[in-house]
């Protein structure tokens, strides 16, 4: 007892200065702990990948360029990403911007078509029965198969590439939107009925808010596939873009550049996915 009593003021004195830091540091550390942990795992995984890569390149006597050679090339690429030496020789950032531009244009147009049709399919069983077979047949088709049709219609490889991204972006968004709209709980519909909501109020205050998380999931899946398809599309169409860059690097026999291209494509894909995951979180209304 005595001991505890006498020591109390000392503790108070000591803590009065460090109280603020003690209170804030611990929770922040605890918050950071999971992300530190996952960062450690990520680094560990990449360490193993780099080691394997290094060994393979050693074994194959540099037929596959090793990490260090590739890193040097990567540095060259990002040192001056915006250079422009004519139509067939542009910086990596310009290639990337070109690809992203095409993806966003095709994706936006596709979403503008897919969301309203998805709502229609979800809300109306007649439309669903009419449209669903079409979606089922066309969804499994590789979007690249549409490239010739795009060429025939638009007479331009660039527009044909945007066209296949447009097609790519339809299906997941369509299906997820339709699913979201068709699962609106009876409770919510009853509120609309009981209080005499107009169609417009029903759409803006119940249908859209309820379906939004599903729509965003659809958009996320769509843009992921669109990013996959743009690379292949640009290999077909040529001209400009990250896919063209990879193909052009292969023609120039620089596997280092090809690998750099792969890494950049992966990172951008991850970034796109993360952006839409954040949007999904932002617009989810459940706990």
């Amino acid at each position: 007892m005595m001991n505890a009593q006498t020591s109390t003021p000392a503790i108070e004195l000591q803590s009065s200065t460090s109280l603020a830091s003690r209170i804030s540091v611990k929770p922040i550390f605890q918050k950071l702990k999971p992300s530190l942990e996952s960062a450690a795992y990520t680094l560990g995984g990449f360490g193993i990948l780099l080691l394997g890569w290094y060994l393979i390149s050693k074994v194959t006597a540099d037929a596959l360029p090793g990490p260090f050679a590739t890193l040097a090339v990567f540095w060259e690429l990002i040192k001056d990403p915006f250079y422009d030496y004519g139509p067939n020789d542009k910086g990596i950032a310009l290639q990337l911007i070109s690809s992203l531009g095409k993806v966003f244009l095709g994706f936006s147009l596709g979403s503008l078509v897919a969301i309203p049709f998805g709502i229609l399919m979800g809300a109306n069983s007649f439309c669903r029965k009419l449209l669903y077979p079409i979606v089922q047949i066309l969804k499994p088709v590789s979007p690249l198969a549409w490239f010739p049709i795009g060429l025939a219609v638009f007479q331009s490889a660039g527009s044909a590439t945007i066209f296949i991204i447009f097609i790519t972006s339809l299906w997941s968004t369509l299906i997820n939107t339709a699913f979201g709209v068709s699962t609106i709980p009876a409770d919510h519909k009853n509120v609309a009925k009981a209080f005499g909501f107009s169609t417009w109020r029903y759409i803006t205050k119940i249908l859209i808010p309820y379906s939004l998380p599903h729509i965003i999931t659809g958009l996320r899946l769509s843009i992921s596939v669109a990013w996959l398809v743009i690379v292949a599309g640009e290999m077909l169409s040529g001209g400009m873009g990250i896919g063209f860059f990879v193909w052009d690097s292969w023609n120039a026999l620089s596997l280092e550049k090809v690998i750099c291209g792969i890494l950049i494509i992966g990172l951008v894909g991850l970034l796109l996915d993360k952006i839409f995951t954040l949007l999904e979180k932002r617009f989810s209304y459940s706990n």
Partner: protein
């Protein structure tokens, strides 16, 4: 008669075949009456409310209001759903305002905003007006649902266990608010309420409808109350009629429990033996 329910039967299709929830329901309610429905859970109280509200179409029989068959829901009937049915992405204020904005005609936007504020205040949620349903307790959600139904100023209020999630004190306040509202409009609003609370039913009602148990539940008995209005909770409990009605309701609702207990003891004896 203002509301007429004639030979009402409601069945639901289930995987095991047709399930008849209620049948042979005959009930007439005058304009301005307050009627409670009590019965064991699952006997079809909500089903009857939904038929009056227009959420369900009768399998047999008719529901008419002012001689017109009920064809669907409408803002002439304000409903407090048993599960509150708030829109999860709207705040307290928006949940009420959207309903008012949709259901109330011939009022300006500012007037509708005023109405919304008034009813938020009535249910004591002014300091929570920007909260989402997931940030609130069951009782608070229930009060939002009550405010929403009251705010559209309907001719008929359909309240499905409206005060069930409230603590005794808040419940008492809500009873007063309900009766105030009813008095304010010269007792012209018709109120139908489902409840489990016998005291609540007696304090508020002109008549109490007691249901039999489901399936195929029907009306077992209708109790007429002649307690004078305005009623005072403290005063009525000492009135002889209050005690008689209370005993009657208790015995109607409890005899099943006693039979269940007898079954239980028999079963226990069999097991012991």
């Amino acid at each position: 008669m203002y509301l007429e329910i004639k030979n009402l039967e409601i069945s639901f299709p289930t995987p095991k075949g047709k399930y008849t929830a209620v049948r042979n329901i005959d009930l007439e309610i005058k304009k301005g009456e307050i009627v409670s429905i009590i019965g064991h859970s699952g006997c079809g109280k909500s089903t009857i409310m939904n038929a009056v509200g227009g959420m369900l179409t009768p399998t047999k029989g008719t529901v008419t209001i002012n001689g017109q068959p009920v064809k669907g829901p409408g803002p002439d009937r304000g409903i407090v759903f048993q599960n509150y049915s708030l829109l999860p992405w709207l705040t307290v204020y928006e949940n009420i305002f959207q309903a008012v904005d949709a259901a109330v005609k011939n009022k300006t936007r500012d007037e509708k905003k005023e109405i919304t504020e008034k009813y938020i205040k009535m249910v004591g949620l002014s300091s929570h007006r920007e909260k989402l349903p997931k940030q609130m307790s069951g009782g608070m959600k229930q009060r939002v649902a009550i405010a929403r139904a009251f705010a559209i100023n309907p001719d008929m209020l359909l309240l499905d266990e409206p005060f069930g999630a409230l603590d005794a004190l808040t419940k008492g306040d809500m009873h007063i608010e309900l009766l105030k509202l009813w008095n304010l409009e010269n007792r012209s609003k018709t109120i139908i309420m489902v409840t489990h609370d016998i005291e609540e039913a007696i304090f508020l009602s002109d008549r109490i409808v007691v249901m039999t148990d489901g399936p195929a539940a029907t009306i077992r008995e209708i109790e007429e109350l002649h307690l004078p209005r305005p009623r005072n909770k403290k005063e009525i409990v000492s009135m002889p009629e209050y005690k008689i009605i209370r005993e009657r309701l208790l015995s109607l609702l409890m005899d099943k429990v006693e039979i269940d207990q007898a079954d239980f003891y028999q079963a226990a004896e069999v097991e012991v033996g």
